[in-house]
């Protein structure tokens, strides 16, 4: 195994993440926690867009539904966070499943429009259903406590996020390698071929939407707890584009790529947070640049250039050298 191989690098990232709060100040812990939350969002979105090939724009809305669900259940019904948080994720999952119903009939650009319309509708509900959502001003959520454990709220939340990221990362990694993951890729590459192989389009599309909704809902619940505040602004279209940029930069259809993309883009976003105009220009440029010059994303680059990242079947056997062409062909997506 190469020194900078996939397993070593991911393990090193995990160790740094686990130790981070002990040597970072409060602001950087906040940024690190934001990265963890976006990793969840990127993994969910990547399964839907990268693996299953559904051009959906509703992820930011489901992120918002998770955050609003978690926050509002606490505020209106006085539920404890530990009950409201999973419920928020369940609501987001249910919404994800519901919007997959039109997705069965629509594909490509029509799906893009219907999910965009849904996202705008959600945003409108957040803004205008003031009796429940408190309108444009948003609302404060109660500060959660990790009462029996002797840790502060930011630390507790950070480690809660980290544990969820690890669990959901492993889950996603196993999922995409399973029968279900292969069915997703079959749906992406050709719906007709997938159907003729006995892949039930309704079931797998709904599953992909449900999974991305679940990941977004978990992320939304954590986000509302981290900020102690929920307002419509955080779940708008810019949010959606940030998440899309993450999976493009990381690598479409790669779970490890989602982690890398989310980490890279949150860092850039924090560096540029002073001027929104420059933030947008840099974001757009990164998105276009990666699509044009590195269509496989960071993960595609690593697979092609760094030993220990290539696909298992392309790994050079002892005594034989694999051609670089074979290694790169995997990084470019298979098209219908």
């Amino acid at each position: 195994m190469a020194l900078f191989g996939r397993r070593n690098v991911l393990l090193a990232m995990l160790l740094v993440a686990a130790a981070a709060p002990s040597f970072l100040n409060a602001y950087y812990v906040f940024v690190a926690n934001t990265i963890l939350i976006y990793v969840l969002l990127a993994i969910g979105l990547n399964i839907l867009v990268g693996n299953t090939g559904q051009l959906a724009f509703a992820n930011a809305a489901m992120f918002g539904i998770g955050a609003y669900g978690t926050g509002l259940l606490q505020v209106h019904f006085g539920w404890p966070f530990w009950l409201a948080f999973p419920s928020g994720a369940v609501i987001a999952t249910a919404v994800g499943l519901a919007i997959s119903l039109p997705a069965l009939r629509l594909s490509g650009l029509y799906l893009a429009l219907s999910t965009l319309a849904f996202a705008q509708f959600t945003q409108w509900v957040f803004l205008n259903w003031e009796a429940v959502t408190f309108g444009a001003g948003g609302f404060k959520t109660p500060t959660i406590s990790f009462a029996p454990l002797p840790i502060s709220k930011p630390m507790g939340l950070y480690y809660l996020s980290l544990i969820l990221v690890i669990v959901l990362f492993v889950l996603a990694q196993n999922l995409v390698r399973s029968r279900i993951g292969r069915a997703f890729v079959a749906v992406r590459d050709s719906e007709i071929a997938a159907q003729s192989l006995g892949v039930d389009l309704l079931r797998y599309k709904a599953l992909a939407f449900g999974i991305s909704g679940f990941y977004a809902g978990i992320a939304g619940g954590l986000y509302s707890a981290m900020l102690n505040f929920v307002s419509p602004e955080g779940y708008d279209l810019f949010q959606m584009v940030i998440q899309k940029a993450m999976i493009v930069v990381g690598g479409l259809g790669s779970i490890a790529g989602s982690v890398l993309g989310a980490s890279a883009l949150v860092s850039i976003l924090e560096l540029l947070r002073k001027v929104k105009g420059f933030q947008e220009i840099v974001f757009g440029a990164i998105l276009v640049g990666f699509i044009l010059f590195m269509p496989g994303g960071i993960i595609g680059f690593l697979k092609a250039k760094v030993r220990g990242w290539e696909e298992p079947l392309h790994r050079a056997r002892p005594g034989k050298r694999s051609t670089s062409a074979a290694a790169t062909s995997e990084s470019s997506e298979v098209r219908p």
Partner: protein, 293 residues
Amino acid sequence: MILLTYLLLSGLTTGSLYALIALGIVVVNKATGVINFAHGELFMFSGFVAWMLHVQMGVPYLPSLLVAVAFGFVLGALTNLIAFRPLKNANIVSLVLATIGIAFMLRGAARVIWGGKGDYLPFPPITSPEPVMIGEIMVIPQQLAVLAGAIVIMAAFAAFFRLTRAGKMMQATADNAKAATLVGIRIDRIYMLSFGTGAAIAAAAAVLMAPLTLLYPDMGFAFFIKGFAAAVLGGLTSLPGAVLGGISIGIIEALAGGYIHSSFIEVSAFIVIMFVLVVRPTGLLGFNGLRRV
């Protein structure tokens, strides 16, 4: 009765603007099979260019309009060069994301050049702002000017598309790109022309609309999604469908705002579009291209 006619007229006016935006989207989609997600930002950016000329430099309205249209054409052609031509063989996800990237660059540039979030720039009206009563109907002259302008632009575009050599080449490419190549049409140029023409129509719409509302960097997306909805309502590849879809959406919005609640203006179009897509996925005048397996 006065309310109804007023709502219908203002719906027709905004609807004609949506129709122009939808027309640009359809022109690009017909030729290339792609939706240019930067279309709204091309619209916004050209509007700001006209504002800069007209308000800041004192150029008269009509020359500003023409310069903005030319500028829009160039921006559209550039979008084609950056985000479409190198990606012609890529999948639809990459193509859409590349145009979204362009959209964000333009929006950021507009914010840096012309002000921050929430800066609304007024554009002086080109006619008197006083409403006029024609019989029982209350009319704002600016609306009539916008409506007339929109009709002129649509007519000019229809003439260009049907009568000129370039327009016929565009039709041929839209029909069958391979056959068009075989008869000697340089389809890369046609793609560029389509992107440019679409953006030029958007630019004209922006300059027409500017005196009616205000300009702000985030306006592009709001108008794009209405135009996209209008285009889908009309079937995405039908030019008369785009006009019909735009006007329907304008009128639905105006009626929902007038009779239900003003907050419904923003959302009624999306409710309609979700419903239409579920019931009739190919739009009202769409080509019935559902594939049976």
